[in-house]
Symmetry: C2
Subunit: 140 residues, 2 copies
Amino acid sequence: MDQADDRSWTITDLAEEYAVTLRTIRHYEDVGLLSPERRGTARVFHNRDRVRLALILRGKRLGFSLEEIATIVNMYDEQPGESGQLEYLLDQIAVRRRELEQRRRDIEDTLRELDAVERRCRDDLSALVGPAAGDGSRLR
Amino acid sequence: MDQADDRSWTITDLAEEYAVTLRTIRHYEDVGLLSPERRGTARVFHNRDRVRLALILRGKRLGFSLEEIATIVNMYDEQPGESGQLEYLLDQIAVRRRELEQRRRDIEDTLRELDAVERRCRDDLSALVGPAAGDGSRLR
DNA sequence: CCGGTGCTTTACGCTTACGTAAACGTAAGG
DNA sequence: CCTTACGTTTACGTAAGCGTAAAGCACCGG
């Protein structure tokens, strides 16, 4: 594995590394997304928690709610369990996959449209210098 | 254009078509994302509004806030304006593009990990029938 | 022993994105 | 004229995701 797979972090370490507040991290613990070790009252984060935090934040960027993120993140370390659970997990995976693929299509579409807007914008800009004809590609 | 570019829709039409509530559509109007024609007090939606609603919902799927969506959607029908505005718009486009590309990377990563989880899951499942060796690819 | 630094908990506050209830207008059909 | 369907406004409610005090423990250096 890594050179220091047994390293540990304070809450401030992680907060700085991932640019979130202490409150945010504690909140994730409150809702059960993180469960750092306790040494006395202090939280001690290990690599596992660090990975989970990264997963949580990525989920957030993708627009998932903390609850959805919980089901996703927990998929990563389910124990084998019985076959019914495994089938359910496979279902969940399929659902998430479809959602993600939809989002990816949304992104591709939006990027293409941004290209169009940008082109139009550059046309308008150059038209301010040496006037020509627009292509009439507004929304209306 | 389309056969009926001058069609109009009631609020219920759009709500059903896009599977949202009337309240949601009215809320989008409240915050200035939609501005349907008024015939008396009743709302009359035209193609422009319909397109905007689709854009709004796509933005939501991508995890943008309504405020962010407003700035994005409004980019689509900005008037040429003066060069300062156009420069600003180009900046905004660049910002959005970077955000979207980050999200796309997030999605790709997540899809890959889903694949891994699924493989592991299928392994576990088949191990329940004819036991073999796992690959030890858990989070911890 | 005293102060500071860094952590902790408890708990109320705030914003976003709507839900939901109350009360009423308007047009069609029996 | 009455009902039914569909629309409207106003306004308070709510869940999620934190922000922000307020107050306290625990250790460290002087």
